[in-house]
Subunit: 197 residues, 2 copies
Amino acid sequence: MADSPLINQLIDALRCLPGIGPKSAQRIAYHLLQRDNEGARRLARALNEAVDKVRHCERCRAFSEGPVCRLCLSTKRDRSLLCVVESPTDVQAVEEADYSGLYFVLMGRLSPLDGIGPDDLGIDKLAALLDEGNIKEVILATNLTVEGEATAHYVGELVHAKGIRATRIAHGVPLGGELEYIDSGTLSQAIMGRREI
Amino acid sequence: MADSPLINQLIDALRCLPGIGPKSAQRIAYHLLQRDNEGARRLARALNEAVDKVRHCERCRAFSEGPVCRLCLSTKRDRSLLCVVESPTDVQAVEEADYSGLYFVLMGRLSPLDGIGPDDLGIDKLAALLDEGNIKEVILATNLTVEGEATAHYVGELVHAKGIRATRIAHGVPLGGELEYIDSGTLSQAIMGRREI
């Protein structure tokens, strides 16, 4: 505990950052006060602005500053491809993998234990998007966890019901992966998913 | 790069936190936007309040919300002991080690290469404190680095010149330390500083 209530309040508030424990929070607080007052003010401003102005795109539920996000409005994207992901962070990851279609962000995954059902994932909005008729293929890029797989399965059925092609991202050995260190489940998936060369 | 300038601005601003790289900054930004808007606002408020109101104690240069810090004002502290440390974080560390005297924070260490000389360390304020006549012993608790040692040496001479006792914190093997893993410099200091049992 620092001697100043305001420093303690700052240390406490820093704890809301994921991955920052009490010791790091203290170190960060002292660093900002000692050496980077300007950075602290800029961070405070950026936090307020982002929380005030960033909302979800009405079409794809990704983060957006306007009612519809820039990817949805862009004329340069392939509008016949839709990639379904769990969270806005995943949009970033897929963007970096050179994907050029549109997205739909579920903002979660099916998880009956946590009380998260289809209604919480904006499935009605997804259905409306599919009904527009432009989309020819839906890539299911939910995480490769049990819940992500269940979600992919559920969304896949909806996509099929609309007569649209649904694909799932490949399971297998990551680039640079050494077989010796890959878990057996992944390796078994990689073998099942083997392709002609 | 995220698709929203405000999110990018937030990610950028988070980089001012020590130990937070680009990937962590992105993860934190998305976490706050997705799951902890309230935490983000609280953090912004705490940052502004701390930067606005926390200043240095006029006596000991530790962080304080008033002109003189609570430790300096306290009647429960041993006013004959003064512990000289490099930074406010060190005050915390020493406090946790059950020390009950007063402090003086140099806010740095002698470092000719970085242009940090005695004037930057508030040596005149320290001299004024010593001249008050209450202090019987000055504990030099600067870091055990080359610069910290040089600073301790410099301050020690000043303290001696005032006819006051100066002591240096002990060098040695940390609690729980295993000799096998202790560097030879520390071990040699521990042997030189050996005590009768």
